[in-house]
């Protein structure tokens, strides 16, 4: 290499170094800003999804029965009466009671659902089938086991039974998907029977509901589907 080329090469290196010194901190700042923006967008989306259901102060306060774990009998549910302003619309009303159920009782030990679980969506079909879509935390954070998973589903089903008479059956989705089990035990492929009584329309906003003290009712109601059979 001639001295002239050496000089040009060294000059080029110095130039690249200077450019890097100027632009790398700028680039780093921009990347940090972009990451922060992405974080905010995810948080914003989450907030929008889980926005508390607007409570209309005009709605009458109803004595609602919510089902959490009993503090006296192991692995059973007990109704707790809570004064809530509830909508007359069954979907809004279902969201209100389920969000209150998810928020948990005063004694955190009596929770039936994980504290980080969210109700993402709730639909009510004309035939009375409710579809409740929960975040993945419902499946991932719940203590694994038949008793704990059954308690979780029963607390949802019985809270709906006690407060929303239009809900006849309940289908549970996790993050918009049908899953085989909640956390390895409880079957979520079917629907759970919630109410068997005929619905009186319009819904009366009388203090909610009757017959809630009977034993566990989350019974799976599977409709016939084509499947391989066993010969008789």
């Amino acid at each position: 290499m001639t001295p002239r080329w050496k000089f040009l090469f060294a000059g080029g290196l110095v130039f690249i170094l200077l450019v890097a010194l100027i632009f790398v901190p700028v680039l780093r700042r921009r990347m940090k800003r972009a990451a922060k923006l992405q974080e905010q967008s995810a948080e914003q989306a989450r907030r929008e999804l889980t926005q508390p259901i607007a409570i209309n102060p005009g709605d009458p306060r109803i004595k609602s029965k919510l089902f959490w774990a009993s503090d006296t009998i192991d692995s059973t549910l007990a109704p707790v009466t809570v004064d809530l302003p509830l909508s007359n619309d069954p979907v809004l009303r279902s969201k209100q009671v389920l969000n209150t159920l998810l928020a948990g009782p005063v004694d955190a030990e009596l929770r039936t659902l994980p504290p980080d679980a969210l109700l993402l969506a709730f639909y009510l079909l004309p035939d009375g089938t409710a579809i409740a879509d929960f975040s993945e935390a419902l499946a991932n954070s719940i203590p694994s086991g038949i008793a704990s998973e059954q308690m979780a589903v029963n607390s949802i089903a019985r809270t709906l039974e006690a407060n929303v008479p239009q809900v006849q059956r309940l289908k549970i989705l996790i993050h918009g998907q049908e899953v085989e089990t909640l956390a390895g035990h409880l079957d979520l492929t079917g629907t759970f029977v919630v109410n068997t009584k005929p619905v009186q329309a319009p819904v009366q906003l009388a203090p909610a509901a009757s017959g809630a003290d009977k034993p566990s009712v989350a019974v799976q109601d599977k409709t016939a589907a084509p499947a391989p059979g066993l010969r008789r």
Binding site: D74, S75, A147, T189, D221, A224, P228, R232
Partner: protein, 211 residues
């Protein structure tokens, strides 16, 4: 018309979870999938003493699918099915027996039971079997219920035989030895429950047939 005879002779033992699925985990490193396997060995011995043949859905650290586990039971004639679990909640030292929740009745004139509701025709027998086992467990483990509970246990739904889930509380014990000490009592209660149930079970002539 199928010839019927009393003859419960096989108990299919299903140690739940396994492989990459450890099941419930305790803070002391206790894994449900390991404990149920040792309970299964103990149960096998107790059943053989009562004159039953024991078949396991897994012998080691495998994780057969729910359907594969049911298929092991559905391939037997004159079998009952017992799936073993350890809970992560509940009063430690107690044991609960579950039978499947109500399923829509099977009404198929061609003689086939839909796979996804294979348990439906056996629910009454499962309840009888479950109550026998729970009764023996309640005598031995104070605080356990007197009768079997109902739950929508996935593993039971596709099993075409009297089927129960037995869940022992719990992985929250500080020392694994506390659970290990329960194994002989749990195994003996299940084996005695199966023996008490034997006269009630009239086995149809074909495997997997409706009772």
């Amino acid at each position: 018309m199928p010839v019927q005879h009393a003859g419960l002779s096989v108990v299919v033992i299903d140690p739940s979870h396994g492989g990459t699925d450890p099941g419930a985990r305790g803070t002391g490193g206790i894994r449900e999938s390991e404990i149920v396997l040792s309970f299964a060995m103990e149960l096998r011995r107790a059943l053989e003493q009562q004159g039953f043949q024991a078949v396991q859905t897994r012998q080691g650290n495998e994780d057969p699918s729910f359907d594969d586990r049911s298929a092991t039971a559905n391939a037997q004639r004159g079998a009952v099915f017992v799936t073993l679990h350890i809970s992560s909640t509940g009063l430690p030292g107690t044991v609960r027996v579950y039978v499947n929740s109500d399923l829509a009745p099977v009404a198929d004139s061609h003689g086939f039971i839909p796979w996804d509701r294979a348990q439906a025709p056996f629910l009454g027998l499962s309840r009888t079997f479950g109550d026998f086992v729970q009764g023996f467990l309640a005598q031995r483990f104070k605080g356990s219920p007197e009768t079997a509970q109902t739950a929508s246990v996935r593993q039971l739904r596709t099993t075409a035989a009297p089927a129960i889930a037995v869940e022992i509380s719990s992985v929250t014990v500080e020392d694994r030895a506390d659970l290990d000490r329960m194994a002989p009592g749990v195994a003996d209660a299940i084996a005695r429950g199966a023996a008490a149930f034997r006269p009630s079970y009239v086995v149809p002539s074909a495997a997997g047939a409706q009772p």
